[in-house]
């Protein structure tokens, strides 16, 4: 399909504003100006049809089952879109509460921030939250910066962060970009053991980043002991909230002893993924880390009025220009109000039930490396199928032909031919059963006709794409030939 630049016809009118009275040259000298910017000229219908066609080349949660492990692709309730579009929120300039005498013009928005933080505190058992981080990885970076500030304040000399070998790549990357060395701890039978942790845990360790349940979908059964060991070294325990959908109402990470947590509202609390963003990655902290939270903080006065506090002498400073992705966490707030405490617990139960049901139905057809009760997701492996030349990638592509988005593949790195499956609670049993039946059929085909699977997908807008050619030729704009 042609690009908008290839479709452009000079002179064609789109959605233009009125004609100015003057020319730009009347205000700014020519030597400070440019030639044409090369934007496409299209009619409004040209644009509408182009992007409608493009949208039809996508799988989304509304159109397809999307069991992408670790991404929690649950249904995004429609009414939350309407909330974010309310003019009282969408038209609000972020600078307003910083102006003298203007605070009363944004009380509703400040209340949203305050209430969302309060609900997240109750959900996780943390003492305070900041809504500023704009994505999960951004929350991680903020969390690691909080560790830096905490240790600096205490005069601790700490240089290392420990991440398990099953961790998302963002954990070590976040620790590294904040200036720490990264040490890996090896999991045994899928989880971290006190013995393995003891081998790497020394006085230089600033913090330990854990995902619980971990990326294999397993609960860290040694958690209480690990917490004690880590705190004994005055290291901080970090909770990567990627898998929070597994524990709502069942475990509060604050109660369990975690010091810093980031949540992925676009996963756990139903805000849309947007094709890769925007997300929202708020960070919660225990009492001792609270003084270091980013500026600003929303405070509530006794008379019920809200204001922004900038007087935070120990703060790590600013991680966002304003208050984070307000338009995103507004949807999460609406989602929490809709479900309430009981509804959130039911969501977790539904997710865990579906994951275990799928795991059980698949166990005679695919290798399940850690085949025990899992949480909201589980890991299967195509090692058996690979003996016939059908790899996890081929299984994934064959699933596309069946109308399902593929699971996460080749992650976590410690499982060969890995298929990481997360159904979420919002998919009904028929959908789950159809997906399982299709996966079983693919397993059977792997024995009989591996070539057919290696040729998949055939029904998508394009067949398998040459990624090597893309990386070698680096055609990443329409102007590179």
């Amino acid at each position: 399909m042609k690009t908008v630049f290839e479709k452009s016809v000079p002179g064609r009118e789109g959605c233009w504003p009125e004609e100015p009275k003057s020319k730009i040259e009347d205000f700014i000298p020519t030597e400070l100006l440019r030639e044409e910017a090369g934007m496409p000229s299209l009619s409004e219908l040209d644009v509408v049809r182009h992007f409608t066609r493009l949208s039809q080349k996508n799988f989304g949660v509304d159109s397809n089952f999307y069991p992408l492990g670790s991404c929690t692709m649950k249904y995004n309730p429609k009414f939350t879109e309407q909330v974010a579009a309310m003019p009282g929120f969408a038209k609000l300039h972020p600078v307003i509460p910083q102006l003298k005498g203007a605070g009363h013009h944004c009380q509703g928005a400040l209340e949203v921030i305050h209430e969302t933080e309060s609900m997240l505190c109750e959900l996780t058992g943390m003492s305070a939250f900041t809504m500023h981080p704009m994505a999960g990885a951004h929350g991680e970076l903020t969390g690691v910066m909080l560790m830096v500030a905490y240790h600096r304040d205490k005069g601790n000399k700490k240089t290392k962060i420990i991440c398990p070998d099953s961790a998302h790549g963002t954990n070590p990357a976040s620790a590294a970009v904040a200036g720490y060395d990264v040490v890996s701890v090896e999991s045994k039978d899928g989880i971290i053991t006190p013995e393995a942790l003891a081998e790497v845990l020394d006085d230089d360790v600033a913090g330990v980043m854990m995902t619980c349940p971990n990326t294999l979908g397993l609960f860290e059964t040694h958690l209480p002991e690990l917490v004690e060991m880590i705190h004994a070294k005055d290291a901080l325990l970090y909770y990567d909230g990627a898998n929070m959908n597994a524990i709502m109402g069942k475990l509060r990470v604050g109660d369990a002893g975690f010091d810093i947590v980031h949540l992925n509202l676009h996963k756990t609390l139903g805000t849309p993924h947007g094709g890769g963003g925007p997300g929202s990655g708020p960070v919660g902290v225990s009492e001792r880390v609270k003084p270091f939270l980013p500026i600003s903080r929303v405070e509530k006065l006794e008379d019920g009025q809200y204001y922004l506090s900038y007087d935070e002498p120990k703060s790590i400073g600013y991680v966002a220009p304003f208050y984070g992705n307000f338009g995103v966490y507004l949807k999460a707030y609406a989602y929490m109000l809709r479900l309430g405490g009981e509804g959130l617990t039911r969501a977790t139960e539904g997710a865990v039930l579906s994951a275990n049901y799928m795991r059980k139905r698949l166990e005679n057809h695919y290798e399940i490396p850690y085949n025990r009760i899992c949480m909201h997701e589980f890991v299967a492996s195509a090692v058996e199928q690979a003996k016939n030349g059908v790899r996890a990638l081929d299984v994934a592509k064959a699933l596309l032909d069946k109308g399902h988005h593929a699971p996460t593949i080749y992650f976590p790195l410690i499982v060969k031919e890995c298929l990481m499956i997360e159904p979420t609670e919002t998919e009904n049993k028929e959908t789950i059963d159809r997906f399982i039946d299709d996966l079983i059929e693919i397993a059977e085909m792997a024995g009989k006709n591996p070539e057919a699977l290696q040729a998949a997908p055939l029904t998508t807008p394009v067949k398998r794409l040459d990624e090597t050619k893309a990386a070698r030729s680096m055609v990443i704009t329409d102007d590179i030939k």
Binding site: S8, W16, E18, I24, I28, R34, E36, G38, M39, P40, L42, E44, V47, F51, L54, S55, Q56, N58, V61, M86, A90, L92, H93, P94, V95, K100, G101, H105, Q107, G108, V112, L123, A137, T170, V177, V182, G249, G274, G276, Y318, P321, F322, G327, L337, R338, G343, E349, L353, I373, H405, A406, F411, T426, K429, P461, L465, A470, M474, I476, T477
Partner: protein, 443 residues
Amino acid sequence: MPYVPHSPEEVREMLDVIGVNSVEDLFAEIPAELRPKSFDLPKGQSEMAVLEKLGKMAAKNTTDLTSFLGAGFYDHFIPTAVDALSSRSEFYTAYTPYQPESSQGTLQAIFEYQTAMARLMGMDYANASVYDCGSALYEATLMAVRKTRRKKIIVSEALNPIYRVMLDSYTTNLNIELVTVPHNHGRTNVKSITAAVGKDTAAVIVQNPNFFGSVNDFTEMFEKVHEHKALTIMSTYPVMQSVLKTPGQMGADIAIADGQSIGQPLSFGGPYLGIMTCTKALVRQMPGRIAGRTEDEDGKTGYVLTIQAREQHIRRQKATSNICSNQALCALRTLIHLCLLGEEGLRRTATLSTERAHHAAKRLSAIDGVEMFTKGPFGNEFAVTLPVNAFEIIDKLTERGIIPGFPVGRYYKGMENVLLVACTEKTTEEQIGIFAEILRGTI
């Protein structure tokens, strides 16, 4: 329960297949002492009740004020088709295009967005966007530090202070030296910046138009910076960039911007998007997602995420950045908005905004005691010096339904009387007239 479809009978069937008696059995591994000590969240409500509650909260915010606020965040008109198209759920309920065959819509849109951004900035390459301009600034800084293996960054004080404070926070633990060069009565101090550059300099960072609205040409300065093998980073404002000399023409190595002003509602601070573009020599240092064009097995054109070996899921702690997403939906909105405006519409938007700002500047500076602070050429934003404290004027005018601008003294000591005023194509001459008259009366 809303959004959880399993009926009691289905739950029973599923539990039987799993071989456990109850849903609670699935959580047996979480020991009693780790169970929530409290879980006092409110009871769930109907969709109607939640909409009503949030509608009331939204109504507590005032959005019908006449506003001259900018400071990097501008209220431009967003064509209706932007909302209509970006609301297609095939776009907004998809995720990062890990399976390119079923994500060609998102991928081609990113590719087109990258093309539009590279053209707008006059640069070789663009990525798929980062969180916001502050994040882009920080990532650009790290690109320069990695590429030059130097640690000193020269920052113009006329760079938006909202981003400068973010850069301060992010670099605290990184052994990077930030040297801020004071502005010269609102002008970017080209001489002082040039003089500050040495063989230990990784990069200089400037903005055009700068925070005070002043339009510059950095070509000569960039040449001198390059003589020291340091890099040049330029922050811009995308609407004005459609008419101004480009970072590429001036010799910038990295050009960044906030994409808010094209396609994103102000939304109390986000979501926005950080635009990042660079020269060919730096593309492998660029963080974030990048879409590239390739072919499928039949030779049909398609798009994939490419040069991913830079990224965290492959390189882990050695990655160029920890970023693992982009502001895809915001980038899509920016792209659609640009397509609807086209070359002419975008140019008109920049010209109209500039025209209104120059009209406002004329009206305001005609008031006794009010003087232009911004000297030389400016676009849609400028600063004036008031005879009184700008904070107090904002307080008084807001009472009358007008937010007159941004108080520069909030970030610049000794500039408490300076007010930063922005216009867009939505600003009318009538509004400017009322503003000027009320200001005259108040002073």
